[in-house]
Symmetry: C2
Subunit: 760 residues, 2 copies
Amino acid sequence: MGMFKGQAKQAIGWTALAALGLGSAASAAPLLGFTDKSSEAERALEARFDAALSPSEIRERLKSMSSAPNQVGSPHDKANAEFVLSQFKAWGWDAHIEEFSVLYPTPKHEALELLGPAPFTATLTEPPMPGDATSANTAGALPAWLAFGGDGDVTAELVYVNYGMPDDYKALDRMGVSVKGKIVIVRYGGGWRGLKPKLAQEHGAVGCIIYSDPADDGYGAGDVYPKGAWRPERGIQRGSVLDMPIRAGDPLTPDVGATKDAPRIALADATTIMKIPAVPISYGDAQHFLAALGGEVAPKAWRGGLPLTYHVGGVGAQVHLSIQADWSQKPLYDVIATLKGRETPDQWVIRANHRDGWVYGAYDPLAGHSAMMEEAKSIGALAKTGWRPQRTIIYASWDGEEPGLLGSTEWAEQHAAELKAKAVLYINTDTNGRGFLGFDASYSARRLATQVAADVVDPETGESALRRAFAGIEARALAPEANDAARAEAKDVSRTREIPIGPMGSGSDYTPFVQHLGVASIDFSYRGEDEQGGIYHSAYDTFEHYDRFGDPGMVYGVAMAKTGGRLVLRAADAEIAPLSFTESADLIGENLDQLHKLVDVLRQRAEAQNRAVDDRALVLAADPSHHHTPPTKEDPAPNIDFGALDAAVAQLKISAAAFDAAAASEAGLKPEQRVKVNAILQGAEQALTDGRGLPGRPWYRHLIYAPGVLTGYGAKTLPGVREALESGRWSEAGDYVARTAQVISAQTALLDSATALLKP
Amino acid sequence: MGMFKGQAKQAIGWTALAALGLGSAASAAPLLGFTDKSSEAERALEARFDAALSPSEIRERLKSMSSAPNQVGSPHDKANAEFVLSQFKAWGWDAHIEEFSVLYPTPKHEALELLGPAPFTATLTEPPMPGDATSANTAGALPAWLAFGGDGDVTAELVYVNYGMPDDYKALDRMGVSVKGKIVIVRYGGGWRGLKPKLAQEHGAVGCIIYSDPADDGYGAGDVYPKGAWRPERGIQRGSVLDMPIRAGDPLTPDVGATKDAPRIALADATTIMKIPAVPISYGDAQHFLAALGGEVAPKAWRGGLPLTYHVGGVGAQVHLSIQADWSQKPLYDVIATLKGRETPDQWVIRANHRDGWVYGAYDPLAGHSAMMEEAKSIGALAKTGWRPQRTIIYASWDGEEPGLLGSTEWAEQHAAELKAKAVLYINTDTNGRGFLGFDASYSARRLATQVAADVVDPETGESALRRAFAGIEARALAPEANDAARAEAKDVSRTREIPIGPMGSGSDYTPFVQHLGVASIDFSYRGEDEQGGIYHSAYDTFEHYDRFGDPGMVYGVAMAKTGGRLVLRAADAEIAPLSFTESADLIGENLDQLHKLVDVLRQRAEAQNRAVDDRALVLAADPSHHHTPPTKEDPAPNIDFGALDAAVAQLKISAAAFDAAAASEAGLKPEQRVKVNAILQGAEQALTDGRGLPGRPWYRHLIYAPGVLTGYGAKTLPGVREALESGRWSEAGDYVARTAQVISAQTALLDSATALLKP
């Protein structure tokens, strides 16, 4: 999956940066975790690594792997696994396929009809596109499909609920419209797909239709395929609606690897499967349903790009929706390739990309996958010359990411103990295309990310990927439509001179590693110019489309391989694991500042609303010709005592600075001390987890970043506290202030012990 | 005309206000300019005034006056003038028609065609609407028409320039697209209509098409007529493109009344007429033209609600536009009705609304006009009982407002000397409908406006119009989409407890009075719920439409009459003219604060852009697959010395407070002193004008508020300074700091002399 988050990231008082040499490729500054001397050797190695990268091999591999539908259980997915395995082996890797057996529902029957006044049967399919040969190779392709929606056959009035997010239901309440017993139609966007049926069923709806509005990724975004890159009238966004904010992975094997004979719960007991039927449709289909809706005119912010007046419905459009899935087990084929470390083989650097798509999956995920394989090819070639990394390198090709991070999660659960003991860094990619290098990552990886970005040349400008990312950030802050976030990012970058690191939410395979196990992780891509949004998860995500719009010439494929390769090689070869904590402590400090502000904002908002309730302002301001249920008074946020967190963060900042300084100045560290320091660093991210997990979702253990319960992909920072505050659960917020302070202090203690080793 | 500005105005820590009694109708507090005793008598008079107001008479009058096309020169416009005259006379007013002869171009020939690739001839007409009898009465109706566009017959490629405002042309430059020798197509909105052809011709375009985008006032705004109120597919917005930001009124008789034998300049010398042909079209027509455009995809903010991808064009759409007008003189019929003042007949209170529409004009202007006549009827009835106002009251029914404020401007120019010597207050209305009371007014009228709003009952809520306006402001500040301006307005109202007063820009007949002559003026309407935006200036602005959507039952017509009547009666009867200066000085102070901030913002923006130019950020951030001309360096704002203005405003605040306090506490003022004080107040707004006028437009003499040269309707405050700053004319800004400080000090001196009279 991997997109629709962080797409809008990327612009510095640049002059200063240029002067510092941070923007120029291949600077001579020492690398994090390396000495001056070993930095030099590492850069020489990277030059050899680069030399073997071939855009045409990336392109050919992408073309063949995306030539047929390759979703979980498809013949081509298995063939791709075998091809990947053979390639790894040919390149000298110790590789095997690790198989799991997971619940993966496929369509047995689906139908969607508008019963009146102008009856219409939804097409639920995507016709082949002239000029796109791949799109005609439809044998075995999934129709319109939302994996892990419920089975059901329902007939009911239709209600339009905009993005189907919590505020949308509040607005609907104000209009006096209920979705109870109704089928909802929601548009993509505003939050993760899976929340749409989940919130719909929580509000009593009996079915859920999700459509792609042309304003968002169709003709409103640009010329549609095949004239341009954007979603054509019949394009459908498939996807998973598994309740991943609660737990990723096979719904029947929570917490354990879904091996053939793993203990399984009953289907009926699976908590992450939706109860109501849900289906995705194109805007060509949606127009018929939306045009039939009666009721009030939808609020201004709810109106999309179809040539009609959007109504909230509840009257006028009787709809029949019927879904039946085949709920059998399907096989997963994870391909795992290992290159054993020379010095500390029990320290692992893991690099992965998923392999399964929704249909052909050229952009999502095979562009990233093909670039990753190019890295493995080049590292294999280095190994053939006798070079070995200090740490063990593992390349993984995940299956079943699309339905619910299945391949990565089952593997991570299966190998949990070993990963906790050994994994130093998990490096993930997914989609990729023309544009700007962007990261979501563990905060301690910011320095590493910046240094790598400075050493990779952006193919379009010939400047470093770092400098181009900074230019993008600066340009966006200057644009007429710049918002506070854009300006804040430019300020941050101008102050820190580090590439921005988005906090890790979800949406790709790093989640089981960072969120569940506490393995420091990096996810990155090039993006922002690739125009792949309109074919996302559709049958038009083809090689032809990608080759024309996504990354012509595969030059960003090469840039991804250079970036991924450097991350892997530096993490595998550094004397001291290339993590740094000053930036990390700063970012946690910023997250805490935001919580302080959040409490004030929540209190002020509740007080203002309560005043308005008292003086009847919202009643008097309402247009009496429309229904208006005024809000009631709210419980304003009490004073939350952030003292423990404030103190913990303050101490972390001191200890982080001391560690980073000690690590930077170390020269003649004895090997056994280095091993001890590295062992400590290997556990530093895990220190930020709490085995009790987050409220209502113990699988998520990281207390600094998590996907939001009500955002799905988008990250919430200090989530235990933040989500409690946002939901008005004041005492829970207090509990998590204490727990979060504890994990921060645990990391502080680790850093102090490492510093003591470095400066005896 | 009168709309599309201030529509989005209308919310307070309400509890406090309610406690102060400000929100409750008919409070017993003394009225501004009255003593306790005379306040009581005045309120009794107003109760008698209210009793005679009849919604059914407002409705019948509206129905008959809007039954046929009534633009300038039409038979029904003349018949309406005679009807109005007869009514005034019947109600006991001393009334007459004052005739002028003005240049008013009407269509002789017009044609617009798309030549290829899919040829299409624009319809340029509006078919009758089922269920709307008036709309079928098309004899004599104007087709699609923009008065004062140039004659011409041109064939050229078409370029889409969004709203056609200065920033749009900058964006087009960045895309490497020029409009030189091209025809432009622009959408309504973003600035006044007349600026669109003006800026187009300044950029070298040879023709201009203006269309109504459905996102703004068609199906994107709500259900279209006749199902709902909004603009149907064939609806056309006519209008004037006279260069009114330079000068209003007849283009051939600048500065003098256009009497039959007034000196006239040659048509070729008229500077306020456009040089290129221009035509308005419906979105039904526009879709053909926009779909044909090639070139780059238009920037995100430029895309409207049609089901297509908006392109900037320059290639792909060859267009032929031909316009020929009849440039003969046409008669104007202003109806003037006078009720002589008992005590000071040479102090005039003027109340007016225009009478001419673009077609039937039910909403614009006859709803306001009919309410105004109801006031005159009731005041006439009071006069018949022997009551006489202290000051002279003049009611005026203006002709020719739509093409360029012709009737009001010619009358004001014709009577300029007398008006400068006698006019105390000019009270204007135009459109009216369901919703919230809102004012644009001279700052000194804020107290009066607040008191009147507190004494008029809002028909939908039964609370005062003031309280409802405050509730609206509070609600808007609480809405999810609330912006800084909405929150600032709520704060202002919560602090001042006064109804918001928008600064006077243009868009209706107050302009010649306040902007040119310096007569203190008020413009008000009820608005925000009337859904009249979609039929604005179209053939669907009919009685049927207005009666269904604009003001069913004409209850807001009555509210307008109560509001207008109170303003007139209080201004006419107050012992001391009901102007107050504390609020005025505060508002001028706020405007000055904004200028200080503006200079900082302009400087920071230029510096940031210059840094980005230096470090090539905008070059590096650009997508190389699109054309991108990066900006060049700008001259940052120097330090502007606002010392003279700061000092003048500080002194005005002191003198204003002293005057208001003295006026409030006066009790036994001798009649001859009162006459002197009133004479001073009569000139207080004029003190804020400078005979040399604003830069490049000497007709506009007010130095505190003016329509913006580049906004057209929207006001610019402290315009001499502000517009110089916004255009980077730094030395001119310095000049106008001095001039503006001078006029403020002149008002300060007048107030000091009046205070001296009050406190001898």
